[in-house]
Symmetry: C2
Subunit: 283 residues, 2 copies
Amino acid sequence: MKTPLDCIPCFYIQCLGALRHVDIDEQQKKEVLHQLGREIERFSLDDPPPMMGRTLHRLVKLRCPNGDPYAELKRRYLAHALELQPQITRMVQEASDPLLAAAKLAIIGNVIDFGAQQRAIDLENEIQSLYKQELAICDYAELRRSLARAETILYIADNAAEVVFDRLLLEQLSAKSITFAVRGAPIINDATREDAHAAGIDRLATVITTGDDAPGILFDSCSTEFLDAYNRADLVIAKGQGNFETLSDETRPPCFLLMAKCTVLARHLNVPRNSLILKCQSM
Amino acid sequence: MKTPLDCIPCFYIQCLGALRHVDIDEQQKKEVLHQLGREIERFSLDDPPPMMGRTLHRLVKLRCPNGDPYAELKRRYLAHALELQPQITRMVQEASDPLLAAAKLAIIGNVIDFGAQQRAIDLENEIQSLYKQELAICDYAELRRSLARAETILYIADNAAEVVFDRLLLEQLSAKSITFAVRGAPIINDATREDAHAAGIDRLATVITTGDDAPGILFDSCSTEFLDAYNRADLVIAKGQGNFETLSDETRPPCFLLMAKCTVLARHLNVPRNSLILKCQSM
């Protein structure tokens, strides 16, 4: 997916949002925004938004002593999600179609904003409410068919806490070989190897990384291990907006599970903003 | 008022919004955003946001054949507002306190977004609903006292269509000399001399301009005529956010009538966003 002009102000919003977690003064933060401006000048709108996302978050990470402005937030989000694990597991067990329930909860995992103030009980209510919501795009029949045929599956994760929800879907898969790919280094609140292990994913799948710190898949920067897994897989499942934006134009696109969180993507998919999406057919 | 970092992404949003009314291609629009970035590098956060607003809208106006991207929109908004004149005039006439009613409607005039799709009847409903809303800051007693004492009043306008609402308040004033100041050249949808005349303001006040195209008051760029009127006035009434942002730190600040349209200003005033404000005491 190309980058529309509307993404440019949003790059600044994202950069400023990340800078809030970095202990530098206003003038230093303004300097980072200038650096961003110079990077945007060099950036081609023919490239997908996560390519600029990687650049902008690298600019911020350089100013951060531990190289990860979101470390503490991620830890808290993941802990919240793990508290919810018994409840969401029960929802799948009690569902008339456990695969559909698990797929929907994996999408909801992409939706839930594990805000610092939210208590587990509020999240439970939010999940229940989202669970009742219809999917705006629902290619579930196609997903089920693909899963029945697939011997090797590559599952590309998105956010850290979301991995707890992904686990429910992994438990429903019967393919011989399942590979679970996370980011190669911290980027925003995206899942890394530690998060996958904390959610016990390594007991259900082979955990690999993309070998890159883009919030999406930029093949030129990915490890051979990831590229092999991608090319070998009978079915690729990709979570979240960043993976969609970088993979939706592939000749054989993955099956996407996501929430359309921004107006640009919602317009691209012709759905209302904040829609739940299960998209398994080529664009 | 200084410029917080949060205004920087918003400058890009405003610039892109203005560029939507200009017939150039995406790459040319991206180039204008780069120019904006270079201007922001030079811009000091100690200056008020409308100083950057002037710069960014000048960048866009340069790409526009008639020098005014908002010309058509302004014409339409003003026509809508003029349709409403009989109704809002009646609201003042029927009010138990016509001065308060007129002041409130002048604030509401700053609120109403005269959207292209809205019909006069929808606007009527919106005005009625806003009219019932309490002012979040209400220094009406102070305004009334100041008006009773003032022999010369300077009224600084904001948006073009809003001038129709300002007229109601001008009709309630009994000062010997009333001067009505508009922008010296087109900027966003701000009122210029033509708009004031279209609303019949010249029959109630002496219409002058700031001599500048900032969406606020930057004294260094204002005409001697405006500066004289400002210094001579017993009371200055200033409409809208841009005038507030540039005049609120004055030792003898004007009486402000506005809606706090953005989160930055709402936080500054410690009110919820979209609050109606009548602020007549020093900051």
